[in-house]
Amino acid sequence: MIWKYPLLLRYLLYIAEGSVWTFGLVGGGLLIGFLIGLSIAVGQVYTKTAKPFLDAYVWFFRSTPLLVLLFLFYWGVFPALGRKLSPLACSIVVLGLRSGAYQSQIFRGAIMSVGESQLMAALALGMSEIKGVLHIVLPQALRISLPGWSNEYAILLKDSAICFALGVIEILTRTRFVVMAAREALIPYFFAGVLFLVLTHVGTKLVQIVYERTKIPGLIWRM
């Protein structure tokens, strides 16, 4: 049992350091996903020509298992493009591409809930469509989408564990190393679970604080 291993504390610290890589995966994935998701959402709501392509993108990335995507891009797509990425970089890109598909639906719903009349009022003032969307629709839509977005953080955080399959030394990969070295599964896996739980909780709390801080009287309801 575990008390036979005086190295336990160092093992657990080693696992905890994996948070840095997990953060890299989640932060990078969320950021790429945000840029892709917001662009797709705007395109889906306001354009006719681009919409079928955007729909196809969302459909593809939402219906393919993450593990398949990781292998596809790491072993297939990037080498075929003549540009082999490191496991970390490839994982971030794939998490981002996939999260973009999910985030687009959060933003799309938020944009639609702002309503056409807000954009109409902006146009009536003489704003162009682009200015109206930037100054009037998106500031409202982004606030509305925060609760759904914090959910995406929680999902991506946990999904990021699957990147152990490419050997990214994030929390799960490290935990597996520790299990193999220590021949003890219960405590390391339990610790990894608690670590994810804490990260999820802290992250969603942070988003909630941002949500409360940016709340506009009469605009949005409580989280």
Binding site: L123, A124, L125, M127, G218, L219
Partner: protein
């Protein structure tokens, strides 16, 4: 009267949604300083007419001139045209994420490129005009319906338009809030701000309107001085319409 004095000229305007013909050839003109009222049963194309005139909805056929310039021309910069037309919506449509002050100043900054401080001054001045200076920091969610509509009027006026469009500006308001909005509109009418007003407020129409145009089924079927059209209408439809309105009006006066 020279052409220079005609602010808005509309000729044979048509608009359909699918097989539903909403506007079937509407023509009229508004001279500088005139207040024209459009009345008529709901669903007769009054809102569509206003939206066609500032090109929020493209008309199918016909011509519109704003200050002598044809805006139904293919090469028109529609954003420039809309800057010159102040639009007040039935449901206010204030920007919900901005304070009253920012609602009024954002068009000045984003559309006209006026500096923040200057835009703020103009916005405050406009809010003062509609009696809402002390509410400048409040968000739409914190204002009453009447206050919201006054902010919306200030927002439109701040752009210094050549004409104001009002699309049933008091129809979404509780009865006790209608007065404050009408008072502001009357004040602006006295300042000779050219306006096209869709409304059923016959008291307002009679006190400041230069002409009433009665619309039904996509056409203007009767027009003339407000008193004449309201008290002595020629058409059966017009007569019934105003009889009903007057009856409602008297009931609420009691």
């Amino acid at each position: 009267m020279s052409n220079q004095d005609i602010t808005l000229k509309v000729e044979d305007l048509h608009k359909s949604y699918g097989s539903n013909k909403v506007l079937k050839g509407v023509s009229f003109e508004i001279r500088k300083g005139e207040i024209k009222i459009i009345c008529g049963p709901s669903g007769t194309g009054k809102s569509t007419l206003l939206r066609c005139l500032n090109l929020l909805t493209p008309p199918d056929r016909g011509h519109v001139w704003l200050e002598g310039e044809e805006i139904t021309d293919a090469g028109t910069d529609i954003h420039k045209v809309r800057q010159k037309i102040g639009f007040v919506f039935q449901e206010f449509n204030l920007f919900k994420h901005l304070t009253a002050l920012r609602n009024v100043s954002i068009g000045l900054e984003v559309v006209k490129g006026i500096k923040k401080d200057e835009a703020r001054e103009i916005a405050l001045e406009q809010l003062r005009k509609v009696g809402l200076e002390e509410h400048a920091h409040k968000y739409p969610g914190e204002l009453s319906g009447g206050q919201k509509q006054r902010v919306a009027i200030a927002r439109a006026l701040a752009m210094n338009p050549v004409i104001m469009f009002y699309d049933e500006p008091t129809s979404a308001l509780d009865p006790q809030l209608i007065g404050e909005v009408l008072d502001v509109m009357k004040k602006l009418a006295k300042e000779k701000i050219t306006s096209l007003v869709v409304t059923h407020e016959i008291g307002f129409a009679r006190s400041v309107g230069d002409e009433i145009m009665f619309m039904t089924d996509g056409r203007i079927i009767e027009r003339g001085p407000p008193d004449e059209v309201i008290l002595n209408p020629k058409h059966e439809v017009t007569r019934n319409f105003f009889r009903n309105i007057t009856r409602l009006y008297e009931r609420s006066e009691q």
